[in-house]
């Protein structure tokens, strides 16, 4: 796992981590502001809605971070130091995605902790926030599986990634119901919805036609990871590294 550790350390610069945790903490802040006058029942429902709808800030943080996993090495010209090693390409791809996932999970947990603190601050305790951890973890893994290969392949991966988030996940997946099944955010949300009994109306709207459920969500997530792994392996083998 030397490569994964190296990539993770390189990504997690202090300034970047602080900025991205702050970005992914927006739902916590909104929750804190939104539940002042709410009773505990309303607060739980509101929590799901806020995390589902405002959680996109985490997606952008995950994009910035995971797309940089191999892109920074490529842009800086340091890729030969890791590429020219006796590491099979599938294992190289797996370690890259693991590094991106763990980094995004750390950022996601940072954001999630902000919601936990907000929940405790308004007197609702840990109850409504705990299942949301699954949302951030699942989303982190899913986005890493997509954005790590994208970052390696495309110099303008941030722009393309933003296009995916805004055009595909936010607009198209809402309009064309079939596309919602291929939305990583909704896949992660379906796992969260499977764990959270008090899933709000807005959250259900966001989920759209995707069926809530841990098993199905995890299976779809596994498929996304396998596709990402395959794509990165292929790219490492077939495309110029520099």
């Amino acid at each position: 796992m030397t490569l994964a550790i190296h990539l993770y350390r390189r990504m997690m610069r202090r300034g970047r981590v602080i900025a991205l945790v702050a970005l992914s903490s927006v739902p916590g802040l909104v929750y804190w502001l939104g539940v002042f006058d709410a009773d505990s029942g309303e607060a739980a429902g509101l929590y799901s809605e806020i995390v589902s709808a405002v959680g996109y800030t985490f997606v952008i943080a995950a994009l910035i971070l995971t797309a940089a996993t191999l892109r920074e090495e490529k842009d800086a010209g340091t890729l030969p130091y890791i590429y020219m090693r006796p590491i099979s390409r599938p294992w190289f791809a797996a370690q890259s995605i693991i590094a991106g996932s763990v980094a995004a999970i750390v950022i996601g947990i940072g954001g999630w902790l902000a919601t936990v603190l907000a929940s405790i601050a308004v007197g609702n305790g840990l109850g409504p926030t705990l299942p949301a951890l699954s949302l951030f973890v699942a989303a982190a893994i899913g986005y890493a599986a997509v954005f790590v290969p994208l970052g390696y392949l495309a110099p303008r991966s941030l722009l393309i990634g933003l296009g995916y988030i805004i055009v595909w996940e936010t607009i198209l997946a809402n309009v064309v119901t079939g596309l919602a099944q291929f939305s990583i955010w909704r896949i992660a949300l379906s796992i969260y919805a499977g764990l959270e009994d008090d899933f709000g109306r807005v959250a259900s709207d966001t989920l759209g036609p995707v069926t809530p459920g841990v098993g199905g969500g995890v299976a779809k997530l596994a498929a996304v990871v396998l596709i990402g792994l395959g794509a990165l392996t292929w790219t490492l083998r077939r495309r110029d590294a520099l």
Binding site: G77, Y81, M84, P86, I87, S88, A241
Partner: protein
């Protein structure tokens, strides 16, 4: 002696730009210099050989293996890239240790210490690479390449930024590695550096092989090539008429106040010019040799083939 690296009809292009064109060549153990001006295709050739880039056509075999097909070959190949960038937050020792761990080196600690000592970085190894001078970074890059004890070592402009002492040390090191039977390819655009490292030179220009042979052949070609010198003088006509009968001068032309001189012996012209000026009462304002660059020599070699 069999070739350890075999490049067969290899071309590499990026869109419409041809970086390397139909190169067929073999490299054997010992030091080989890859010589050529900037933009000649040296870096692209090294990147394709190491598998960092795919050949657009043709094949590469290192120790009989296509490096892109089997990464296990990277146990036996190492590259010192041209890019100055390293991991600035790592110390020199951490950088080399990272290379050792990724290359799955046995007993990495002692090996790391040994190569750091070999490149003369023992005192600075605990410092962050970001604070290293360019020459020190070059040595750190050489150390990370040597840590896996590769059979094939490719170095892209490894002497850039090094001071004369460091340069002499690295040149000795490369020669020693070549003497030990390793295949060492060193790219450079400085012929004098190459002469100190090896007799065997591959010269490239415009993505093509310009010459393959020993340094003496290249040197001779350089000597044969007429040199052009621009001379600004107070009386260009008088100077031109005197120069035309000077031995070694093969052509003279006047352009305004400047005399364009072509000579087969630039050194002799440099000696004769002040004498002629003094004898004829001509004041010399400027003497400028042109097309002295290696690029012009390579172009001459290519055109002369």
């Amino acid at each position: 002696m069999t070739d350890t690296i075999v490049v067969t009809e290899m071309s590499k292009w990026f869109g419409l730009k041809v970086a390397v064109s139909e190169v067929t060549i073999g490299f054997r153990p010992g030091v080989t210099g890859l010589l050529g001006p900037n933009g000649a295709g040296k870096t692209t050739l090294l990147r394709v050989i190491t598998g960092l880039q795919r050949p657009s056509q043709g094949t590469i075999r290192i120790l009989g293996v296509d490096p892109r097909a089997d990464p296990v070959i990277y146990r036996k190949i190492a590259l010192v890239p041209e890019d100055e960038t390293v991991y600035d937050r790592l110390t020199g020792r951490q950088f080399v240790e990272l290379a050792a761990r990724l290359a799955k080196v046995d007993n990495p600690k002692s090996r790391v210490g040994a190569v750091i000592e070999t490149v003369g970085l023992s005192d600075a190894a605990g410092r962050a690479l970001g604070g290293f001078s360019k020459g020190m970074k070059q040595r750190a890059k050489v150390a990370q390449a040597l840590v896996s004890d590769p059979e094939v070592l490719l170095l892209d402009e490894p002497l850039n930024g090094t001071d004369p002492v460091q340069r002499a040390h690295l040149i000795d090191l490369f020669r020693q590695l070549g003497d030990e039977g390793k295949t060492v390819i060193v790219s450079s655009h400085v012929l004098a550096e190459m002469e100190r490292m090896t007799d065997r030179v591959v010269a490239m220009v415009d993505g093509r092989l310009a010459a393959v042979g020993d340094v003496a052949t290249i040197r001779a070609a350089m000597t044969d090539k007429p040199r052009r010198v621009y001379v600004e003088a107070s009386d260009p006509r008088r100077l031109a008429s005197s120069l035309i009968v000077t031995p070694g001068v093969v052509g003279v032309a006047i352009d305004g106040g400047t005399v364009h001189v072509e000579t087969s012996d630039a050194g002799d012209l440099a000696r004769q010019l002040p004498v002629i000026a003094l004898e004829n009462g001509i004041r010399l304002a400027r003497v400028e040799p042109v097309d002295e660059s290696l690029e012009s020599v390579f172009r001459y070699l290519v055109e002369g083939r």
